[in-house]
């Protein structure tokens, strides 16, 4: 079975996500783009699982979903905390942790 198109779609979504992370300054959008990247990886994992006829990749994709859920929780929590403290909702403004 040919999985070429699946991988192409996966790569496209990943690049879109990476570009979003690199260019956007709103943390909410960055979070969404991160989700895109994770799901691109999931797509590739499922495609490879199908190719080899084994279920390892699918299980791994499920675990990635769990991790993604956790990550979103933490990320959203950070954003809410930032909002409550009246901090700017802009990652470029939050650059105090430098060398």
């Amino acid at each position: 079975m040919a999985i070429g198109w699946y991988l192409v779609v996966s790569a496209l979504i990943f690049v879109i996500g990476a570009a979003g992370v690199l260019t956007r300054r709103n943390p909410l959008v960055i979070l969404l783009c991160l989700e895109l990247m994770l799901n691109a990886a999931n797509l590739a994992l499922v495609a490879f699982a199908r190719l080899h006829g084994r279920e390892d990749g699918q299980i791994f994709a499920l675990i990635v979903l769990v991790v993604a859920a956790c990550e979103v929780t933490v990320g959203l929590g950070l954003i809410v905390a930032m909002y409550r403290r009246g901090l700017p909702i802009d990652v470029d403004e939050l650059n105090e942790l430098n060398g």
């Binding site: 992370v21 690199l22 260019t23 300054r25 990652v91 939050l94 650059n95 105090e96 430098n98 060398g99």
Partner: protein, 671 residues
């Protein structure tokens, strides 16, 4: 119970006493700590007597018992165990240590009563007795060294007992440092001997000596014995490691009586007697011990003639008397040396107790210059001083007379160079009688001083502002300084009982060994010294009695001289000082030993320390090693710091770029 079990209990009692008093210091009120401490040592003494009785039940040939509880290390060559050696020598020491300690504990119950550190004092005192018993019971070198070091530590904490007195803490440090010099000597000496015998067990070592060192004066054995002597000299305050003992008088008077007169300072004598098998195989080292003992006895006695601090006069006298003992056990007069050790413990402890009572009557002042005429005001203390003084001077029938002349008689009998040491001994005896009665005449005769008159009127002198007797600094009476009230023997029953007990012992203690009458002590100790070849050369009874008569004559002459100088013709001493001013200066400066040590050891050590600080520490360590490392790390940090901008998207870009490059690399190389 077996003999060794009893000996274990003797060792255990003071340890339990220390722990109980130390742990319960908050609960124990009043004189509870004193009672517990005294009871612990009294119990220990009772068990020591039981040990003696049990040991006497054995056949004389089988009175060398060992007992082990556990092993510390047993490998190919080391056999360090927790084992004790119970033989006549150690039982003899047990009896002397616990017996005198009991009485001194009893004395302290009253003497230290008003001191804020009362409980602490008894915990320390019990700890000292435990250490001393560990030292004398030790069945191997390892335990011996442990006991040796414990005793040094106990001495240090008790000298510095009044820890807010700067003079006391300084004296404690001095004692500790000099004692550690001795500890190092003892340990190194043990290594020398262990290297040849391959065992640390004492009995095995003694049995191996003739096989391992078949020839007399083997170089390694002589070196080992000389190092053991360094240990003995430091602990027993022999020249040139003696300067700590006079300073140790900064401690409370019961401490001076117990540690710096009766027990601890005789540890060196015990060590030489215990190691007699080694010393007899190394006569060169033994001769060094004898010469140093002789020198110490003369030097100390000469300083005792001019010292004006009451306690220091007795301290110099202690050094001098230990010189006799070291000389005796070094030349092979073991039973005579140990006999003198015992009688000295009695009368010297008594003298210190009487001195403590006298100092109390003076409100803490120790200078003989300010004392006088206490005879009427303090009849009991005066009587005790006279008994102790006569025993120390060696007048018949007091114990010191028999024991001192036992030593000198042995020296005369061996002849040759030993005869010279015998003459030194007689000279020392003359000086002893003079300085002892100088002390008594100056303190008790003559015009009564203000304090004596007050006391005769029934009122004990009390100072409102306590001062340090050495420096006249103003002190308070809180913890770390002496307590408010002073106690004299006339008014404190425990002190009176303790002093009477010692006075009786000082009177009749000589009965242990009288030439031609009985030889209980030497025949008892014979098992320990059975392998000695020298001990058989004892003087005949008539020679011994001639020696005793000469000794008594010399003591009388000394007392006579003291009477003429300080009573019959007052002012003679001032004239003498004027006439022999350089000698007096020399003696009053203690033969310049402190200055000599300062010049030869302390100054070079200080100079070396300063050199290390300025050159090695500042330039090499701080400059090159630490400074170099710091600047390397700092430069590296400055380099990488630029990468940390704080922009999240910058980090993300770096990550993406990194992963992309890595992926590209693998793609390119895999094809």
């Amino acid at each position: 119970m077996s003999t060794t079990t009893l000996a274990w209990i003797v060792l255990l009692c003071p340890l339990v006493g220390t722990i109980v008093i130390g742990a319960g210091f908050k609960v124990l009120k009043g004189s509870a700590a004193g009672v517990i401490g005294t009871a612990a040592i009294g119990l220990s003494f009772a068990f020591a007597i039981a040990t003696l009785i049990s040991l006497l039940g054995h056949d004389p040939q089988h009175r060398e018992l060992t007992s082990s509880v556990w092993d510390y290390a047993r490998t190919l060559n080391i056999d360090a165990r927790m084992n004790i050696l119970v033989d006549p020598l150690s039982v003899f020491m047990l009896l002397v240590v616990t017996g005198v300690s009991t009485l001194i504990h009893l004395y302290s119950v009253a003497y230290m009563e008003s001191d804020r550190g009362y409980t602490r004092f008894f915990a320390y005192l019990n700890f000292f007795v435990f250490s001393m018993l560990l030292l004398v019971l030790a069945g191997n070198f390892v335990l011996l060294i442990a006991g040796w070091a414990f005793v040094g530590a106990a001495s240090y904490i008790l000298i510095s007992f009044w820890y807010r007195r700067t003079t006391a803490t300084r004296a404690g440090l001095k004692a500790f440092v000099i004692n550690v010099v001795g500890d190092v000597g003892l340990v190194l000496g043990t290594f020398f001997i262990f290297g040849h015998t391959g065992t640390v067990d004492l009995i095995k070592t003694f049995h191996l000596v003739p096989h391992v060192f078949p020839h007399s004066n083997n170089a390694d054995l002589v070196a080992g014995c000389l190092l053991l002597l360094v240990g003995a000299f430091a602990k027993s305050a022999q020249v040139p490691l003696h300067t700590w003992l006079p300073d140790a008088m900064e401690g409370p008077t019961p401490v001076s009586a117990l540690i710096h007169a009766a027990t601890m300072v005789t540890a060196g004598v015990y060590l030489i007697a215990r190691m007699h098998s080694l010393f007899e195989a190394a006569p060169a080292a033994a001769d060094v011990g004898a010469i140093v003992g002789g020198a110490t006895l003369l030097i100390a006695a000469s300083i005792g003639l001019v010292a004006t601090d009451l306690k220091r006069v007795i301290a110099y006298s202690t050094m001098s008397q230990i010189g006799y003992m070291v000389m005796a056990v070094s030349v092979g007069a073991y039973s005579a040396g140990l006999y003198h050790l015992m009688t000295h413990a009695f009368f010297k402890a008594l003298l210190f107790m009487a001195a403590g009572s006298l100092i109390s009557a003076m409100g803490g002042v120790q200078s003989l210059d300010r004392m006088g005429g206490f005879r009427k005001a303090m009849p009991f203390t005066f009587a005790m001083f006279i008994i102790g003084g006569l025993a120390l001077s060696g007048l018949p029938p007091f114990s010191g007379w028999l024991s001192k002349d036992d030593i000198i008689g042995f020296l005369d009998h061996r002849g040759g160079g030993f005869l010279l040491l015998g003459i030194v001994g007689y000279t020392g005896a003359l000086l002893t009688a003079i300085y002892t009665f100088r002390m008594i005449f100056r303190a008790f005769f003559g015009q009564p001083v203000k304090e004596a008159q007050e006391l005769a009127d029934g009122h004990l002198h009390h100072v409102d502002v306590p001062r340090n007797p050495a420096t006249d600094e103003v002190e308070d009476i809180d913890v770390g300084f002496p307590g408010s009230a002073h106690h004299i023997a006339e008014r404190a029953v425990p002190m009176k009982v303790a002093m009477s007990g010692l006075a009786v012992l000082a009177l009749i203690g000589g009965a242990a060994q009288i030439p031609g009458v009985d030889h209980a002590l030497s025949s008892f100790l014979d098992t320990t010294f059975a392998d000695s070849t020298i001990i058989r050369q004892e003087p005949s009874t008539s020679a011994a009695w001639i020696g005793l008569v000469i000794g008594a004559g010399i003591a009388l002459a000394g007392i006579g001289i003291a009477y003429v100088v300080w009573i019959a013709r007052p002012g003679t001493s001032a004239k003498l000082i004027e006439r022999f001013a350089p000698v007096h200066t020399f003696l009053i400066n203690k033969w310049y030993f402190d200055e000599l040590i300062e010049f030869l050891i302390v100054r070079p050590a200080l100079w070396f320390g300063r050199f290390c600080e300025t050159v090695i520490e500042r330039v090499f360590v701080a400059g090159v090693i630490t400074g170099g490392t710091v600047s390397i790390i700092r430069a590296g940090g400055a380099l990488v710091r630029r990468a940390q901008t704080g922009f999240v998207r910058y980090y993300a870009a770096v990550v993406v770029a990194g992963i992309t490059l890595t992926a590209l690399y693998f793609l390119l190389t895999s094809s």
